[in-house]
């Protein structure tokens, strides 16, 4: 039961975080950090067992009919992610207490952060597709809340919404993929699908499942063309950027790719799509990173590049490539988390994040500088840091591939790594060295809470670089095994001798130094390409805008408040819907029975009168004439009923018609004259619609009379009526006995109408008495 506890304790603490913040004040962060620290410690204790190949599984039956069970599964991959989430989480909470010191919003921020942490832990531990999705969307929501934390700023709100729409929208695509996957594999448990091989790439669903799940992963991990939300998300407070948008949440997409490699990976489609999207993102991010001036934006674009690299490695999918991806994931989380926190400290101290407005902070903030330097070296991929090992492994993995494309990828990789190195240089060198510009405030070293996190993370990068064995068998290998199922893996080492990867590393660093030195001149050349007029961000803006405009147009078109338009639409659609039936059928032979030698003159006369009267009723402008004509129609119909041999019904018709006419006359006495009909153009349209409907009706009628009646049951109710119901008036018998429930309904309708008329007249007269009422 420990795993659900790990997940849900975070939600619980989030609920009361604001209260704790109110009580504990400046100690809040330290106090709240105890929970992630505890989780971290618990997970560390599990490392030997997991490294030994065991997994920890907890299953709680939740919604069996939805195939949703709370299945948590801790394997090597989940462990690596969970350690990052909880460990960095603890440091971020501590950092926040310094960053947000004396800010009343700290309780809210901490609550959101814990909410995120719990969701992210749930995401990486879920073994059920649908709980994974739920946690996935919860991380999107917490990201939304955190980016929009400074909600008074329009930019914050826009960025938050953008991130939510992109990531949650991707999540919905992913959900669709999950539904297809679980329907096809008949299981929603990820480990079961993997272990029992329930879904293979030969399935007819494979293509759809692959695309949908990749969409979710790419949106979340800011892959091209969804990358634009990540830089905008830098509107969030810096601890959030460090935690969600570099170290953990954006890795959720990568986690998803890794998790689904055994199910979806290894095919040409997978490799082609994932490698090309990853590669493109890697180049794009690196290309944009070093041209930015804002510290956080530089880091954000560098993050996009790194995420692209990891995606690319997972796309290649060999054991070595996956191992490289895992090492890079760890290295990046450590150094980028540290650098973001440094950026936040610099921002706090100097009041700006623009690298052109910063410099000479070395003397003022020595501890922060050390953290920045060590982390920056790891980012640039220099020995003896973990970033260097990761880079070596990347090159090594690609060199093991045969064919032409790895060469291309290596070239791209070297270029991207070099540009990320330039970005690292900018982040480390510009703020701390050089001329000290005029600053709004006097910078000084950050408090312990704010340098502890970056320093510790940077130091871990150094420690793992020097002693890779610490993470090798314990974390990297189990994670890689969980993804690839491999048994033999290369051990990490700082020094492999004078190998080709070594040469590539040297080349990368050399290239980085050259670009760094020439950056101003290069930037002039690249400026024109980065204006971003036609990028996907522009597309996002355009599609939002388009949605709003078309929504306006659609609504104004359909809903103009005019009753006549509504009627036209309803009739038109009904005629189309019903009339289309005849397209599918051959009509029966409809020869109109013209055998009218036995014509009843009265019936014919009545029918003619009804039609003529009806036409005049719709055309007369005089109110009384129209009503009189209506009465004529009613009485004619009553006489028709008499001819049919239904005297009871005829009487009913007479009385009802009389009543209706009298009521209408009474009402209309008060109302104005009938206006003209609609305008000529409208009227032609009305005639067309009415004629179409009329033709359709006539067609039905002819079909009915042409088809022999196939009624099965025509019991002799008339004969029975006297015997059973003791009545002679058949209509009455029907109403009272045979149709009891209908009559019940009818009487109720009548009484309702009576109440209604009463209410409507009374309400008004009461209102009139109110002096403030103008009606």
């Amino acid at each position: 039961m420990a795993l659900p506890l790990i997940v849900f304790s975070g939600f619980l603490l989030a609920l009361i975080a604001a209260v704790i913040a109110h009580v504990a004040r400046r100690a809040t962060g330290w106090l709240l950090a105890l929970l992630p620290l505890g989780i971290f410690a618990y997970l560390v204790r599990l490392i030997p067992a997991i490294a030994d190949g065991q997994t920890v599984v907890t299953e709680i039956v939740w919604v069996p009919s939805l195939k949703v069970n709370l299945t948590f599964n801790l394997d090597g991959l989940a462990l690596l992610m969970a350690l990052l989430v909880s460990g960095i989480g603890a440091l971020i909470l501590i950092y926040t207490s310094g960053y947000m010191r004396d800010d009343p919003g700290i309780g809210r921020l901490d609550a959101y952060l814990l909410f995120f942490m719990a969701s992210m832990l749930g995401l990486v531990l879920s073994d059920n597709l649908f709980t994974l999705f739920i946690f996935w969307e919860l991380t999107s929501i917490s990201s939304y809340l955190l980016i929009g934390f400074k909600y008074r700023y329009q930019t914050s709100r826009d960025a938050a919404l953008q991130a939510l729409l992109v990531t949650a929208g991707g999540g919905l695509a992913m959900l669709a993929g999950f539904v297809l996957l679980s329907a096809s594999a008949d299981s929603a448990t990820i480990s079961t699908i993997i272990n029992d091989n329930l879904f293979s790439s030969s399935s007819s669903m494979y293509g759809a499942v692959l695309i949908l799940i990749l969409l979710g992963a790419f949106a979340k991990s800011a892959q091209f063309p969804f990358h634009f939300w990540l830089p905008n998300a830098m509107e969030a407070p810096t601890p959030v950027s460090a935690y969600l948008h570099s170290a953990t949440m954006v890795k959720a997409g990568i986690y998803l790719l890794a998790r689904f490699t055994p199910i979806l990976g290894g095919t040409t489609a997978w490799t082609t799509i994932v490698v090309s999207i990853g590669g493109l993102t890697m180049l794009l991010g690196a290309y944009l990173a070093w041209q930015k001036r804002d510290l956080k934006r530089i880091l954000a674009y560098a993050t996009i590049s790194v995420l692209g690299t990891i995606v690319l490695l997972l796309g290649i999918g060999t054991e070595l490539a996956v191992e490289a991806a895992m090492v890079f994931l760890l290295a990046h989380a450590l150094y980028k988390g540290a650098l973001f926190m440094v950026a936040g400290s610099v921002d706090k101290a100097a009041g700006t994040r623009n690298i052109d407005g910063l410099g000479g902070l070395l003397a003022k903030m020595p501890v922060t500088f050390v953290a920045a330097l060590v982390a920056g070296l790891s980012m640039a991929g220099l020995p003896p840091l973990l970033g260097f090992i990761a880079k070596e492994l990347e090159y090594d993995a690609l060199l093991h591939e045969a064919g032409a494309y790895p060469v291309l990828v290596i070239v791209a990789l070297v270029a991207a790594n070099a540009l990320v190195g330039v970005a690292a240089g900018l982040v480390v060198i510009k703020p701390f060295f050089g001329r000290k510009p005029m600053l709004k405030r006097d910078p000084h070293e950050s408090p312990l809470s704010m340098w502890l996190g970056p320093l510790l993370l940077a130091a871990l990068g150094l420690l793992f670089g020097l002693m890779p064995a610490l993470v090798d068998d314990t974390l990297i290998v189990p994670a890689t095994v969980a993804v690839t199922g491999a048994t033999e893996l290369e051990h990490l080492a700082l020094w492999h001798g004078l190998t080709v990867p070594m040469g590539l590393s040297v080349l990368t660093i050399g290239l980085a130094v050259v670009v760094y030195l020439l950056r101003n001149r290069l930037q002039v050349m690249t400026k024109r390409t980065t204006s971003g007029r036609f990028g996907p961000a522009h597309f996002y803006e355009w599609s939002l805008d388009w949605m709003l405009r078309s929504a306006d147009k659609l609504t104004l078109f359909l809903q103009n408040g005019n009753l006549r338009v509504y009627l036209n639409v309803i009739i038109g659609t009904a005629v189309l819907l019903v009339g289309s039936v005849f397209l599918f059928y051959t009509l029966p032979d409809m020869t109109l029975n013209t055998d009218i030698n036995d014509v009843s003159v009265i019936a014919a006369g009545l029918s003619g009168m009804i039609i003529v009267a009806a036409i005049s009723a719709t055309l007369f402008r005089s109110r009384l004439a129209a009503i009189a004509v209506l009465g004529v129609i009613g009485y004619s119909i009553a006489i028709l009923f008499l001819l049919f041999g239904a005297p009871d019904l005829a009487m009913t018709q007479f009385s009802v018609e009389t009543l209706t006419v009298v009521v209408i006359v009474l009402v209309i006495w008060k109302l104005p004259y009938f206006e003209n009909l609609t305008k000529r153009g409208d009227r032609i349209k009305d005639v067309v619609i009415a004629v179409a409907a009329g033709l359709l009706m006539t067609l039905f009628v002819l079909v009915i009379t042409a088809t022999p009646l196939t009624s099965q049951i025509t019991p002799d109710i008339v004969a029975d009526s006297y015997l059973i119901a003791k009545g002679r008036n058949v209509v009455n018998v029907i109403l009272v006995d045979f149709r009891g429930v209908d009559t019940f309904g009818e009487i109720t309708v009548l009484s309702v109408a009576g109440i209604g008329v009463f209410v409507l007249s009374r309400l008004r007269s009461e209102k009139r008495r109110r002096p403030d009422d103008d009606g």
Binding site: P64, S65, L66, I134, E137, I141, Y151, R157, L172, V179, A183, M547, L548, L554, T555, Q559, G561, L563, Y566, L567, I570, I571, T573, A574, L577, V578, V581, F584, Y585, L587, V703, I704, T707, T710, Q712, I713, T714, P715, D720, I724, A725, F738, R739, G740, D742, G745, E746, T748, V749, S751, V752, I755, G756, V759, L760, R762, L763, R764, K767, G775
Partner: protein
């Protein structure tokens, strides 16, 4: 041989209770002084609660009453009807709690409000129980006429009467259309009993399909499906909010009840013929409903379009039931979850609405609500999340079941449209939440005790459906037609 009607009154006992109580209440109301009309409101519960209890006792029972010529009962009760009857009665009870303070504060307090509501509920219940076209028509009128009047109840507002008259003219017209369709059916078969018609009519008969099409038009109008939806926004905006809360659920569910009974029990063998029509209507309804809602500034209008959109989602389950009758349970569950979320959302709207001159109904009027009414704002946020379909809400599990049914039936495109429009819906549902939490503003609210009760029930129910949907879905799946015996004439 024709048999005397067997009067199995047990089947319609809840209806009788409601009708008789409504009539008794009319007399009691005469003796209740003008300022104390809330008593009439609370007394309404005296009819509704026993009716609910009896309805719950009918669960699991199957029977018919009033055998008409042809040997088929005119009224049936089965789990399908019982499930839906429970929904109407719950809606009615919650609507009473919403209405009592609302109509008092709006100056509309009259006893008739409650009898009309009771009669309308009787009509709704009959819609799902009717097994005879005459009765379906009567039920339709019985549920509609009180709603026309209730829509026009607010004579103090500029728009209430307009909405009522529009609703009435369109409703009367669509009834006439509906009636003409079933008259033709009668002409072709010589009977009005649904099962007999279906036995009689054959697939080669174009008339059968055309009649089905006309019935569809009538039902689509009631549920507010595109393109028969146009009355909905105008009526929702103009009518008193408490009435809208009631009819946005009741009338819609009743329309679906008859639609499902006719399609699911009546025409299941023609699934391949009616499915395309339902699919098209469902897709249009989701698209138009959601897109039109995006730019709404009036929250009642926005919820009207939201109601349209939700009808589209419910229709996914109906469309899926063409190939798999069990799929209807997804739609039934959807309506159950929607009931609570929707009535909760309207309860918030009523709390914020200022009754002097229809203010407080714009989305902008929610600015700063969370500052003064945090719990109310959280409830608002939760209902809106549920309407979007965010996990851990009833709305999510409901959408999940419906989409799942669509996927199982192979309606991938429909589900894709559903998913995309859900993303669009986040755009408008979250706006009031955004305004409540992220803007400064003067929004205030009054939460009466009745509203508080409804809000608590609605939040709780939405949460339960969001976290433990299993048992409730189980109930819905027992209410499909697969579990219903065919009614054969007795005696």
């Amino acid at each position: 041989m024709f048999a005397a009607p067997t009067l199995n009154l047990w089947v319609i006992t809840p209806l009788i209770i409601l009708t008789v109580w409504a009539i008794i209440l009319m007399f009691i109301d005469l003796f209740i002084p003008a300022g104390k009309k809330q008593w009439t409101g609370w007394l309404t519960l005296v009819g509704l609660i026993p009716a609910l209890a009896l309805t719950l006792m009918q669960w699991g029972q199957t029977g018919g009453a009033f055998i008409a010529e042809g040997g088929q009962p005119m009224v049936v009760v089965d789990n399908f009807a019982t499930f839906l009857n429970t929904l109407y009665l719950l809606t009615g009870i919650l609507a009473v709690f919403i209405s009592v303070s609302y109509i008092r504060d709006a100056g509309l307090e009259r006893g008739e409000y409650y009898f009309l509501m009771l009669f309308s509920i009787v009509g709704m219940m009959l819609m799902g129980m009717a097994n005879d076209l005459i009765l379906i028509f009567l039920a339709l009128e019985l549920l509609s006429i009180p709603l026309y009047i209730l829509s026009g109840f607010d004579t103090g507002s500029d728009t209430s009467e307009e909405s009522a008259l529009k609703y009435f003219l369109l409703g009367a017209f669509s009834s006439a259309f509906f009636l003409f369709g079933i008259a033709l059916t009668y002409g072709a078969t010589g009977t009005t009993s649904l099962p007999v018609i279906l036995d009689t009519i054959s697939l080669d008969d174009p008339l059968a399909l055309a009649a089905l099409g006309m019935l569809l038009v009538g039902f689509a109008f009631k549920v507010g499906a595109v393109p028969f939806h146009m009355w909905t926004p105008d009526v929702y905006e103009g009518a008193p909010t408490s009435v809208v809360a009631f009819m946005s659920i009741g009338a819609k569910v009743a329309g679906f009840a008859a639609l499902m009974r006719v399609l699911g029990q009546g025409f299941p063998m023609w699934g391949e013929l009616w499915q395309p029509a339902i699919v098209v209507i469902s897709a249009l309804t989701m698209i138009v409903g959601n897109f039109a809602a995006v730019r709404q500034q009036n929250i009642k209008r926005m919820l009207a379009y939201s109601g349209i959109a939700n009808a589209g989602y419910i229709l996914i389950g109906v469309a899926a039931s063409a190939t798999d009758p069990e799929a209807i349970s997804a739609s039934l569950y959807y309506m159950l979850a929607y009931l609570f979320t929707n009535i909760g959302a309207f309860a918030v709207v009523i709390a914020v609405e200022k009754l002097d001159g229809q203010k407080g109904l714009l989305v902008e009027d929610y600015k700063g609500l969370a500052k003064r009414h945090l719990l109310l704002s959280l409830a608002l946020a939760y209902f809106m999340f549920s309407l979007v379909g965010i996990p851990l809400t009833g709305g999510f599990t409901a959408k999940f079941y419906v989409f799942g049914a669509g996927v199982t039936a192979g309606l991938y495109w429909l589900v894709v449209i559903g998913a995309i429009t859900s993303v669009v819906s986040a755009f408008y549902y979250l706006r009031p939440v955004l305004y409540a939490f992220m803007y400064e503003g003067p929004a205030v609210a009054r939460v009466s005790r009745g509203l508080m009760f409804v809000l608590v029930v609605a939040v709780f129910a939405t949460l339960v459906f969001g976290i433990f949907p299993g048992p409730w879905y189980e109930l819905a799946s027992q209410a499909t037609f697969g579990n219903v015996a065919t009614f054969v004439a007795g005696g």
